[in-house]
Symmetry: C2
Subunit: 427 residues, 2 copies
């Protein structure tokens, strides 16, 4: 799909962008081939960085929480795509149970759920929201700031039918349970019970619970991405590094007790060295840096930027505290050390990075994450961030070479990341 | 898919529209089920009539020629849908050969081909236009009025590979041949040669040549539509007549020689009688009429409106001449007699009828056919016609019950017609 969206970036196409565009027919054919071999994730979002000399994913989320940030222009495509995604699990599905995160006060997240639910409704599914939140024991109406509302309903595992159902309405039999809950706090018993019977019963859980942060690791994702890039880069004839951030990982780190510092220091040094070599090869004058982050989890927590291996030993108490805990208060013990890729995208002079949403194998929208408090080489998923949806370029109806399709390369990288997630979930 | 498009019609929802909307979840599930059983046509367009008390297809075209009349808002959906449609015939397709109609001077049609080609290009296919026009013996550039152009290339059947190829570039090996030529003038030898080997070779022709007017008959389509409606109407509990025009057909008519008048008179009387009964049942005060048209062919030729069976015998020479010949000068011998459904849709006081486009099982756009010289009970596909694309309603992001989705029922009827075409092609 060669969707042309308005990017903040202007000026002539960078060489990498141009290469991908020139080979777009080959690339599209390659993707079609890959999606025959690998089942796309139900949905996903991918944070990208474009440094000019490389464009890479930095994070791939399998429980995307920003559908509210996508332009309404994408809604018809989302509807088409969700139909196809649901049909993979139950071809004649009518009833769907959507399980959101437990937090019921985050208006942004609630708007995401409203929008996601809306996509299912417009695709013609009967959808209800089941909650895993133990504090919600009765059907509960949640008011949204803009006057809309959501109905959350407690759920249970029905031993007899071996399916998850709504407590107050066991006659509602969902063919499919869709998770928008990344299971950071572990896999709740209801899901475990269902999972134990997953091959026996007709009710499927999507994404599968193995996609949750209880089991998922970023380092496994980027291992899979390595394989995907190797194949892709060979096929179209580019240096895989141009689209792939180097990384290492440490398995037993305890920032509080300064355990695992040796592994961290070593990996930071190795990744930095790799970057330096490549910068030399390509004549890049930027300062190399790595991003150290929790190998499981999301929400922009437990992240730091380092440009010298010696910094690891010199972390002060505040920094170590910050790195210790991620979402749901979980202790960090596994860590990924990822090549830092700075962003050249800015909006009103603020650093910005593209976030691309996918449903099944289809691009479902995109927005910029912008941060008015962070620089081009910092994590933008932090206080100060706001969002700006991508709109279609005016030349949507035109493949005119004079109006370059800058979004194309972002779509390619996001799809490579989704493909890596597919490979990752197969393993 | 519950796409909400702006209709010309305003005022409260009609009872039939409301019924279909109320049952939309059931209906969507029913369609999903049907598309598991029947392979959707590659693409199709459907002329609809909404008389208030009934909404029906009046014509289903399997070689749609108005992609240029669709709103650009639909382009992303068309791209997604064409990807899925092509993947059905060759999953890793890269090269496509599109064969348009032979007329090279109809600017509207050329714009249609440009837009159709553009959809393939944006979906990442390498597409070229092969021509069956015997007058085009060299690669020919056709200039469009707006400065765009199309390259038409002569094609041949390669005995060795048993595939259709481009004469000047036999290395271009199309995985798929897409027809936008309704074969009114018969099946050219190149296609016949390929058809003879169709099960042996990898190159597929879509739509299949049996979908062309050489073999296709409207009466067979509406027979299949009868079956589809029977099932659908039972399922959702409505009277099938509300969405189905009555019809009859005559097999050996010659308007010049006044042959077959008895059959015509009989069928006109039977259909009119059926309409009268139903009008009485529903208390409809409109004047019943039938539309007599060629059972094969399109382009709004060979059509007349009749409200009394005796009119058949009284046709004057001019009327008989008009009915004798359709596109490509073909003699009419088979005729369909279809219940006339007047349209209550008007745009600037001109009679209008919705035309819904589909690619695979997806709605791909819609426009109104308007005619400033014809009335609500006449054929609008005639001189004086122009087009107005449907745009998305403002409430595209909203399933709010207060802003009714009038387009929904049109999408349902168009999909029933596409399903009937699928059943028709299976037979």
């Amino acid at each position: 799909m060669k969707l042309n969206l308005k990017t903040a970036l202007s000026g002539p196409l960078l060489e990498l962008e141009q290469t991908l565009l020139n080979k777009s027919n080959l690339i599209e054919s390659w993707f079609r081939n890959q999606w025959q071999k690998h089942k796309p994730p139900f949905y996903s979002s991918c944070d990208l960085r474009n440094s000019g000399f490389k464009i890479t994913p930095v994070d791939t989320n399998l429980f995307p929480g920003g559908f509210n940030n996508i332009s309404q222009q994408f809604l018809p495509m989302c509807i088409q795509a969700i139909t196809i995604a649901v049909e993979r699990c139950c071809p004649t599905a009518q009833k769907i149970l959507l399980i959101p995160e437990n937090h019921t006060r985050n208006q942004f997240y609630l708007q995401n759920i409203w929008q996601l639910k809306n996509i299912f409704v417009l695709a013609g599914f009967e959808i209800r929201l089941g909650t895993l939140n133990p504090e919600i024991t009765e059907t509960t109406k949640i008011e949204l700031n803009d006057g809309k509302n959501l109905i959350l309903e407690p759920i249970f595992y029905d031993e007899q039918t071996q399916t998850i159902k709504i407590q107050n309405d066991p006659d509602f039999e969902p063919c499919c349970v869709i998770l928008n809950n990344d299971l950071s706090a572990g896999v709740p018993e209801i899901l475990q019970q269902s999972f134990a019977k997953i091959n026996k019963n007709k009710q499927k859980i999507l994404p599968p619970i193995q996609a949750g942060w209880t089991t998922r690791r970023k380092s496994k994702h980027f291992q899979a991405y390595d394989l995907v890039v190797q194949d892709f880069a060979n096929f179209i004839g580019i240096d895989g590094w141009r689209i792939n951030p180097a990384f290492g990982s440490c398995k037993s780190v305890n920032f509080h007790e300064r355990q695992g510092e040796e592994c961290l220091t070593h990996n930071v040094a190795v990744v930095l060295e790799r970057i330096k070599q490549k910068y030399k090869e390509y004549g890049v004058s930027e300062k190399p840096y790595v991003v150290v982050k929790a190998d499981a989890g999301t929400y922009g927590m437990g992240i730091m930027t380092i440009s010298d291996a010696s910094e690891i030993v010199g972390l002060n108490r505040k920094q170590r505290n910050k790195m210790s805990v991620v979402k749901e208060g979980l202790e960090v013990s596994e860590v990924i050390i990822q090549e830092g890729v700075h962003t050249i995208e800015t909006i009103n002079d603020f650093a910005a990075e593209p976030v691309v949403y996918m449903i099944d194998k289809f691009i479902a929208g995109a927005f910029y994450r912008i941060n008015d408090k962070k620089g081009k080489d910092e994590n933008l998923n932090a206080p100060g961030m706001f969002f700006e949806p991508f709109a279609f370029a005016n030349n949507i109806n035109n493949d005119d070479k004079e109006i370059p399709n800058r979004f194309y390369s972002y779509g390619v990288i996001a799809r490579l990341a989704a493909l890596a997630a597919a490979v990752e979930l197969e393993n």
